[in-house]
């Protein structure tokens, strides 16, 4: 009897920090935000409940255009991160020897030791008009006038891929690591050539890792703020910038909160479609990688 109570108590104690974390940091703020997003300002300090903030969003093309643009660029970043990350992950998990594997993994982690902000400024240092790349190209005589590499979409995408690729590589390495080499050899032995083995065996096997990597990367990219702002400047038109604008510049918390929920709904929808298309469930991807 005592034993059982003690067990239960320790379970509660162990569970308490987790429950607190979930409630205080995730559930409560979201409930609060949702409450705010449903308020309509009819006069100063007078509010009514309703969907006005959401309706506003759809009535203003600039808002949902920005959201669509953010969504499509995030998808592009996700695809690029997958295309770049897959060979790297495959090399780390299957080709590199045991010792090089650790070193390579560490090298992938190093960029995380530097803060987002510093990394973005590093990029600026390289890419601005008077930056290292522009001046060295001038010095080499390849260009005559300095070139501004910053503030265009390509730079934003490169910067974002660089920031998030690690989150693609880690789940991929862990699923590919669990794959028996004999499976690949069996693929060849039964008559498959390189592309067939990749398409019919390696990719289906790695699918849970691919999907979970893509989910994380897409979420991170769509919700990122620093990189698009710093590398893309004023015309980056990232949706998080709109949200920031509503909250801080216009001091319109109501519509800012509504935008936040629109973003959440939008990314969830994209991920749901992605899961349906790849035939995976959230459970299987999370469990496998």
């Amino acid at each position: 009897m005592m034993q059982k109570d003690i067990k239960r108590l320790s379970l509660y104690l162990l569970f308490a920090p987790f429950a607190m974390w979930i409630t205080l940091l995730i559930i409560l703020p979201h409930l609060g935000m949702f409450y705010i997003s449903m308020r309509e300002k009819v006069a100063p300090r007078v509010y009514e409940f309703g969907f006005d903030n959401y309706i506003n969003f759809f009535n203003e093309p600039i808002y949902w255009n920005t959201l669509l643009r953010t969504g499509s660029m995030s998808l592009l970043v996700t695809v690029l991160a997958l295309l770049l990350g897959f060979p790297i992950a495959y090399y780390i998990a299957k080709i590199a020897g045991n010792r090089t594997r650790g070193a390579l993994f560490l090298m992938c982690l190093i960029p995380l030791w530097v803060s987002d902000l510093i990394r973005a400024f590093g990029w600026i240092l390289l890419l601005r008009e008077t930056g290292i790349i522009s001046s060295s190209l001038q010095w080499a005589g390849l260009i005559n006038t300095p070139i501004e590499f910053l503030y265009n979409d390509a730079t934003v995408i490169v910067g974002l891929v660089y920031t998030v690729i690690l989150f693609m590589i880690v789940p991929l390495v862990s699923t590919l690591d669990g794959m028996d080499d004999a499976m690949i050899e069996a693929g060849y032995n039964l008559g498959g050539n390189g592309p067939t083995v990749l398409r019919r065996i390696i990719i289906p096997y790695a699918m849970p890792g691919i999907v979970s990597g893509c989910i994380v990367v897409f979420m991170l990219t769509a919700g990122s703020y620093l990189t698009p702002i710093l590398l893309g400047g004023k015309n980056s038109s990232w949706f998080t910038e709109q949200i920031y604008d509503q909250f801080i510049t216009r001091y319109n918390w109501e519509s800012g909160a509504a935008f936040g929920f629109v973003l959440l709904a939008f990314t969830s929808l994209v991920i749901w479609i992605g899961l349906k298309l790849s035939g995976q469930t959230l459970n299987s991807t999370v469990a496998r990688s």
């Binding site: 028996d180 060849y188 032995n189 039964l190 019919r200 096997y205």
Partner: protein, 370 residues
């Protein structure tokens, strides 16, 4: 090189080393069409390496591999008509049984209808006609085994390689699969090359067995030859159970020697293997337990043939195992000798502490010069 097409597989002086490790050292053999060939050797002797070279996953440092008389050196693995059953089977978990078997046919570009008939045909032949739509995780160990074989056999390979495929199964199933494999080989009439470190698997199933040690083939022969006429001490010790002694030659007469073991036993033996021993040479002596006759001493000490070795001893313990029962006898010199006995359950049976007389012929006392 068209003259030798009778052989499905020929290996000629293959060598492979990893750094300073000689994994496969100068191995030559050929396997006639439709036979069951086993490679038997202790762990780490290079069996897997040899098989991987035949399948094309490793390149030999020198030597030639011919399949149906054609050299396959330089042919990539997916172009060799040699299929392989992996140690852990390597079935594809993301495909169901049908897709697993169809994979190879798809790679070969077969049409949908051909694939369907062939897959159902092969499933019927391994007597699992109803599992086509099962997932791999829904199969039992023995069923997985058969699917792995079917996946290869549906492609009509010239040679099927099996790398310790029974290693992952439990004992009972392993016994059943031994017989099953032999039957499957008969049914498909394809050359099987079977790798194992379990001598009973090799002896039961094979037409020919190669004994491998430290990267070299020590002897190739039928199971009977290896058991009764081993050409080297390693073979005598590795194939089948045996009593073994180390000793020195004390007398030599044509074909026979007299040996004194380290424990002080004297026995007469026949010379086997390479090199004729002379007096003073070190030898290894092997006697199989079934050739040693154990009888109660005194009772009627009769008719022991002249050429026989005779030892008096006391039974230390009895290892009862039905028809394969055995006694451990401690001789005068203190050494233990194993002998097969028949235990009927009657009062005449040997019991621990009984004094016994052991006798065996000099012919069955195989002595190899060290």
């Amino acid at each position: 090189m068209q003259s030798t097409t009778e052989n499905d597989l020929e290996c000629i002086e293959i060598k492979k080393h990893f750094g300073s490790v000689r994994a496969v050292d100068d191995v030559s053999f050929d396997i006639p069409k439709g036979s069951f060939f086993s490679i038997l050797g202790p762990s780490g002797c290079g069996k897997t390496t040899l098989m991987r070279m035949i399948a094309g996953f490793e390149q030999p440092n020198s030597g030639d591999i011919r399949i149906k008389g054609k050299s396959v050196i330089g042919t990539p693995p997916n172009r060799r008509n040699v299929k392989m059953v992996f140690q852990h089977l390597a079935l594809f978990p993301m495909m169901n049984v049908y897709e697993n078997i169809a994979y190879g046919l798809r790679c070969a570009g077969a049409s949908k209808d051909v694939i369907r008939t062939k897959v159902h045909d092969v499933l019927a032949r391994i007597s699992l006609p109803d599992v086509a739509n099962r997932e791999i995780s829904q199969l039992s160990g023995g069923q997985k085994q058969r699917i792995a074989i079917a996946r290869c056999m549906v492609l009509d390979p010239d040679v099927l390689l099996l790398d310790e495929p029974l290693g992952a199964l439990d004992l009972k199933l392993r016994e059943a699969m031994k017989i099953e494999l032999k039957l499957l080989q008969h049914q498909f009439d394809t050359t099987f090359v079977y790798i194992t470190h379990d001598q009973s698997e090799a002896l039961v199933m094979s037409d020919h067995v190669a004994i491998m040690d430290k990267g070299k083939f020590v002897q190739i022969g039928t199971p009977q030859e290896l058991y009764h006429k081993p050409k080297a001490a390693f073979v005598a010790g590795f194939v089948g159970d045996t009593n073994r002694w180390a000793g020195r030659v004390t007398r030599v007469e044509d074909g026979a020697v007299e040996v004194e073991t380290e424990a002080g036993l004297t026995m007469r033996g026949s010379v086997r293997g390479a090199g004729a021993p002379s007096v003073g040479d070190a030898v290894h002596v092997f006697v199989r337990p079934e050739f040693i006759k154990a009888e109660k001493s005194g009772a009627d000490a009769q008719k022991i043939d002249a050429g026989h070795n005779v030892i008096e001893g006391k039974i230390d313990s009895i290892l009862f195992n039905g028809a394969n029962s055995r006694v451990l006898v401690r001789g005068r010199a203190g050494e233990l000798i194993e002998a097969d006995v028949v235990l009927t359950g009657g009062t005449e049976d040997l019991k621990p502490k009984d004094d016994v007389t052991l006798s065996w012929s000099a012919e069955q006392t195989m002595s190899f010069k060290v």
